[in-house]
Symmetry: C3
Subunit: 393 residues, 3 copies
């Protein structure tokens, strides 16, 4: 039998769609898998989740809940009983039919936002507003998170490293507007404490296209708590605005749930290792739980920290966000040269690896790795940086 | 066996959803129910109703059609063959996916409006507009009628008074915006000509929240006809605007279907009985059919009469509307002190009882009850009242 | 047995909806049909098509794919292996839940546009904008293409000419706004190279109503290619704007797929035959493939040619568009007297016949027919016509 088994679950161009799918280690008695695993797909029902497709991948220790209906976002995950993700006020996952992007002055995206990891893009991200250049209104964080996959496939490798993978394709395509396709693959080996997101964005048009892409990776407890810290090889860091500047001395430290806390955002330039990789770590107070993001800085040159340590019921969360641009309004990013221009039929590739750490030694090892990369002293601006931060209007 | 049987039909937090449900008196041969009853749930298909969940409660004489998909509104009812509700131009019930609240200059709510009883609220109601204080655009009559229930349960009591009840929970919750939950119960005893709506609105946030709540109770034939009348213990009443002022002498009398009729709205302050209850009656010309609304004035201090006796095909209807506020733009209501402020985790409770009268004697009895409460003379303003009615802009 | 068999598939007023339907010549062994045929209905799943109802009619040589969910539009067709329609950038058909008409400055309609034939109307068509007269914002090309049918029926005639037909009803009805119903029938005889769309628009209100209606009939390869031509009995023709004026000398000739091509639109007044019929032909370079549209000019007095010979991946397409009005902003059309006013309960009827030509002789015959009708010389304006074309703002 082939070393990789593959199932095509959705392909609208062949009018192919699979209502339910379940495959697990138990289905392959012929293979000595080192862990029990499953991949499962179904459609959620009831409330705002009605009609949302959920694809779950369990590698033996780590579970990923993928949302084809929400632009191949990751709804949440679980690692040895710990939740990966956060608790948003809205009860998600939210079918895009409940999200009207223009609502709330262009902030309608928030009505659907409860994912662990979602992409902001592809044509634009950042705050809503009117972009004079192509004369269009850009809604908060773009459209990709509220577009459904038109293609979905899964693969299981029956030999080491026993990779489980999921591939989805999502379009942002409208006559006279952008014609972009996201081809996204989630990949994790059996028993691993990590997985990888490999994204390719393809400009399907004969016209050049702009691209903005940000990975909004959101964490609550048990990784976020009073005394948690975000650590990264900072070369330079600045607060986004006056509110963030207030907290600059503790930009990397987290409070517990704090009713009335107003969000603070920091923009950073990170150092890399010899092959251009960088990373960021969020660890808990006891330094025995952590999550690490790793990526190639050439692909995602910017890093954003979103601190929203409000009350639990108001969304206690921090976002660690590698991105192609800073989440300012697109016109400002264009001026600063941070909007990617994809040529006709051009492609852009980004890979993000996420690890979960469950021991003090693992956290220490990553802290050591970051310390080695971090220049001394890091430049920490006490006020917004003029070319990084759009002045308040 | 327990004296109350309970079925949980939807609970998205347990990923529980019931496609079809039917229970009736015939299922309980062990109980001597005084009337045949049923409770039934299914999903409507086709047209704009596709995907709308419908829960029907029949107590032997009265049927209620509840819409979990539309904020636990009441689509329509039936009492001994008489329709409770009205015929809107749109063929409902309308799934919220067809309603874009911002459309038609913020009047998009009308695209989904065909219910017998729907709530206007919770964060706001009244006309659309830009509220400068929190800097947001408020769509007509708020969002609650276009939000789906995330929780639904029914109960049947197998001893007197043999209550049938339905409970649903609906949220208006978005990160950085309101985080309110409506917990609504409909309750009717077997064989009764009445039912009760008991609503609790809970502020789930640690921040205080504003609340506006109006019960838009709409009636057409056979209760509404030429010669019908609305009767209530009026202490003071005023027309909303110049158009309503034109009809002030006949504010309580109804025309038959009148092509070209332009709506008229009246705002009223009602007297109460010794325990603070008030009521309103709509009766037909012969005074042998009527509907009565009863409520505690402390919970719903304002009463609005909406007269829209247009042609049948254009929506021949009157609304009797107990409310926490007058349906002016929220900023005006705030100035007048009529917007409720819910403290962190605060609650607000409102109970509305609706009775159907099918005999001349019953109508006479309620007319007598109202006459006793009504001060003489009632103050009827011929022009809009400056603190009740927002000046036309 | 009856000479016509009829199936009612959807009627929301009877709460009737049919999940799947299939009937074919094989089901009627008692009838000697001259061709194999079928009529089939199902619901598409996956991507943006999820929930779209598709009704297919196959007359032996011609297949029509009707979309009840998209206002009884025609998604695409097939004739002897040739595709009728075009390839839009979006992967359709698109359920209206993904279309927010106000988006993209009122151009949200484009997010759902991939049909072969769709109607623009009914309350308005043309570009988006604010109509001061009734004080409302009109989205691009109106609402009808994004409204679902509430009624659907099919008929099969078991004697010559063995007509297959489909009837659907769609409403544009909202309290205080328009209350219009489209009753649409598609009709084709077995083995025919043609079909007919017969539409009746009914004003269900007691108030008069405005009507604009345009048939957006879109063709790509194999009818559209380098050297294709559109031919019609032109009396007078004008470019819509400066961009169209650039191409006036070749207004009737088509380029192959041309990356960067910017759309050009021409407005025309056509001559008719003795009974008031007019027609338009699109043929390929070799003049051996063509499509013909035929209609009564009194019903659809205006004809529009939309040339969008961009790259294939950007939507290589031409639109041949008979209409009641020119697709300018409605306020301009009203000034020019081109908006229809339907009296209370008034009706408007339009029939459009579409033929597919598969032989050189057939194309020649239609060219001859058109030549006979065409006055010499036709008036071809080199610049926009002041009463036809709204000045650029």
């Amino acid at each position: 039998m082939a070393k990789t088994q593959r199932w095509l679950l959705t392909d609208v161009s062949a009018d192919l769609w699979t209502e339910r799918f379940h495959v697990s280690s138990g289905d392959r008695a012929d293979v000595a898998f080192p862990h029990s695993w499953f991949i499962s797909k179904r459609t959620l029902r009831g409330g705002k989740r009605d009609g949302v497709e959920l694809l779950e991948v369990h590698n033996g220790v780590l579970t990923l809940s993928v949302l084809p209906t929400r632009g191949m976002g990751l709804w949440r995950g679980e690692y040895r009983g710990w939740r990966l993700g956060w608790q948003a006020p809205v009860r998600g996952p939210v079918h895009p039919q409940w999200v009207q992007l223009l609502d709330r002055g262009g902030l309608g995206w928030l009505d659907g936002f409860d994912e662990w990891i979602c992409r902001c893009g592809l044509h634009s991200n950042g705050p809503p507003g009117h972009d004079p250049q192509p004369n269009e209104f850009l809604p908060l964080h773009g459209r990709i998170a509220n577009q459904p996959a038109h293609y979905l496939a899964v693969e299981v490798q029956s030999e080491p490293p026993f990779l489980l993978s999921v591939t989805g394709r999502v379009q942002e395509s409208t006559l006279f507007f952008s014609h972009l396709e996201l081809r996204s693959t989630f990949r994790t080996p059996l028993g691993a404490n990590w997985f990888e997101i490999e994204d390719e964005i393809i400009n399907l048009s004969t016209k050049s296209a702009e691209l903005e892409l940000l990975y909004h990776c959101n964490f609550g407890p048990p990784f976020l708590e009073n005394g948690s810290r975000v650590v990264a090889p900072i070369r330079e860091l600045a607060p986004r605005n006056a509110r963030a500047a207030e907290g600059i001395d503790n930009w990397d430290k987290y409070l517990g749930p704090t009713p009335g806390f107003v969000e603070q955002v920091y923009f950073a330039d990170l150092a890399t290792n010899a092959v251009g990789m960088t990373l960021a770590l969020l660890h808990n107070a006891a330094q025995d739980k952590g999550v690490v993001l790793r990526w190639l800085k050439a692909q995602l040159p910017h890093f954003i920290v979103w601190k929203n340590t409000a009350a639990v019921e108001d969304g206690y969360v921090t976002g660690l966000e590698p991105a192609t641009n800073l989440p300012n309004f697109k016109a400002f990013e264009r001026e600063q040269g941070r909007v990617i221009s994809l040529p006709p039929h051009g492609q852009y590739r980004a890979v993000l690896r996420i690890e979960v750490l469950d021991r003090r030694e693992s956290v220490q090892a990553v802290l050591g790795e970051i310390a080695q990369l971090t220049p001394t002293p890091a430049v920490v601006h006490r006020q917004p940086h003029p070319t990084w931060c759009q002045p308040a209007s």
